[in-house]
């Protein structure tokens, strides 16, 4: 298990988080630069196993909310998450004991480490998605009747600060947080989902920080050894490579605040040249949600669809996909916390407006070594 994040740990973590981002979650690059400078200034960041959290510890979940496209143009000030946690501490009138990760996939894996460093608090080795999803209610912390998104606090790159003590329900929390984000210029830091250590342990997906770091380690090792990188990723994640090929078409549309679209990938020629090449269609809404191989659904959300460059195994976000790119597409079984009936009502294919039912990929549970 990962005990601390050092300078050497940043690169593998960014690679692993990018892969778990399933095309969304934002590029970890800018955040990893800030994490580097914070670790240089303050030393490695402590990582704590959720199993060792005191039952009555106070955990707050943090993450940036907003449009990844906006965060490319509007660089974070860097203390948004810490200031959000401070607002929560003032509102709750008590100190926070550890920082929780909302979303391990993409850039939001880094902020909670930076926040912990800035505040002198450990970051818990766990998250609420095991991947990336676009909305607050899509976290395992809320797949119960006990924990709520509110109270939560938000801070922007300027001096705007907002506390939301109470919402009608978590869908309202999402709606309110999203509109506040828009008024704050499309990106903002958020801290909320207050939990005890016991509650956090019960509802989190454990050890996903370690998992992201291990994926990255294996990618780097495979590159060094000249081994097949997509195979190394698939093996770490107990998944499989669905197809290797070239992107032959991308359709994009931006509706209802999502980057939606379809990617078509044509497999390389078969040995038997009389048959057609395999063709993969992937539907996305920020994240890759359903993959159809020759018209048949192969992977359905919440199972993970990851696209990496064929040679380097570098994760590719939906907004960076382009015609002609040579990629490998992986299908990876989701953690069990995303596959309960309650979870699927929020993160299953039908929750995203598809007709398909969730058809779980066979194979082992994602877990760390």
């Amino acid at each position: 298990m990962l005990k601390q994040v050092t300078l050497d740990g940043i690169e593998p973590l960014a690679i692993g988080a990018g892969i778990l981002g399933t095309g969304g979650g934002g590029d970890p690059y800018m955040d990893s630069l800030q994490l580097r400078s914070e670790i240089q200034a303050r030393g490695p960041q402590m990582v704590v196993d959720p199993q060792v959290l005191a039952d009555d510890a106070t955990i707050v979940i943090v993450g940036y909310i907003g449009a990844p496209t906006a965060s490319i143009e509007k660089i974070q000030e860097g203390t948004e998450l810490m200031r959000s946690v401070r607002l929560m501490e003032k509102h709750l009138n008590k100190s926070v004991d550890a920082i929780g990760i909302a979303e391990i996939g993409g850039g939001n894996s880094m902020g909670p480490l930076i926040t912990g460093l800035q505040m002198g608090l450990p970051t818990v080795d766990a998250d609420g998605m095991g991947r990336a999803f676009p909305e607050l209610p899509m976290t395992t912390f809320l797949f119960n009747d006990e924990i709520h998104a509110a109270p939560f606090a938000m801070a922007d790159a300027g001096e705007n600060a907002i506390v939301v003590p109470q919402t009608v329900n978590d869908e309202w929390a999402e709606r309110i947080a999203r509109t506040i984000t828009v008024s704050m210029g499309a990106t903002a830091g958020l801290a909320g989902f207050v939990m005890t250590g016991a509650q956090f342990r019960q509802y989190c997906i454990p050890h996903t920080l370690t998992l992201a770091w291990q994926i990255g380690q294996h990618v780097l090792e495979a590159r060094r050894q000249g081994a097949d990188v997509p195979d190394a990723i698939a093996s770490t994640l107990h998944g499989r490579v669905l197809l290797r090929g070239k992107i032959s078409d991308i359709k994009r549309r931006t509706t209802e605040g999502f980057a939606k679209g379809t990617i078509t990938i044509d497999g390389y020629d078969r040995a038997d040249s009389n048959t057609e090449v395999d063709r993969l269609h992937i539907e996305f809404q920020n994240e890759f949600l359903i993959a159809y191989l020759n018209g048949e659904a192969q992977v359905t959300v919440p199972d993970l669809i990851c696209i990496v460059t064929e040679e380097e195994g570098e994760p590719v976000a939906t907004e960076l996909l382009r015609y002609g790119m040579r990629v490998a597409v992986l299908g990876v079984p989701a953690p069990p916390q995303l596959k309960t009936e309650r979870a699927l009502s929020v993160v299953g294919p039908q929750a995203f407006g598809y007709r398909e039912k969730f058809a779980p990929l066979p194979g082992g549970v994602i877990g760390v070594e």
Copy 2:
């Protein structure tokens, strides 16, 4: 001076507030129904003169924010303002001593009385506009470097509650409050602009609750006596009747969250039938902002332009104006607090995008008997 608002005081107050609404501010009718039932249940509401506020008293300003058109369809729950004040008390960690009125014009004159009744606190006989304006920064409480809109709190008809501890400036407060309002369904209660008694006294427009009530009293009296009602209003407000006539055209457009447009009113035939009739054009953005008589600007914001029905002297909101209506148009000099250089930079004609400079109406200062 008004010492308390009784059942008998509601009708004149609603009439006076409607007239001071200058076409905007929302119809006081629904709010006056709630005020009636609250007074029936709890007795008259105490009104306190700003001159007698203790220097160190804590005053919070309250009002509904949102689109008047939405508030017609979406009836208030009735405790939004009180819940907002309670949120502020919790945030400030101290009790509020008196309730301040943000805007005397229109429906927002009533909520602060209801809130006071619900909380057992007096409402101060003063406000921050002396009329109606559409945005938070357009209040005299903010025409200085000392008082800010934030911290403020908002509550909706459901259980959503938001506290905004800090904003970059008051324009950001407006922007954030407005987007929160949209997420809350276009109307919400707001409490903020925390002041001491001494600060409130320095920046308020005093005795506007008494003024609204007196206007209404004079209207009711003139109706009873068969006297000319528009003349009675003009005389109470030290203003004048610009024109009596029929609405001959209305152009409306809804842009940037405002109900904008132009009203044309043709005066009745002159005695000398060889001359053209007088024609008045009134530009509005929620409120009536500039009146041109035969092409010449006669009244410019912040001076008040009030349209009332010719017979009854009933105020008419911009959204209720229609072709053929017989009306009287009044021009009324604004209170001096709206005519300072700083005030005009926020509420003068150029702040609303017009080329005209503010040309103050001659005549006395609005004041109570």
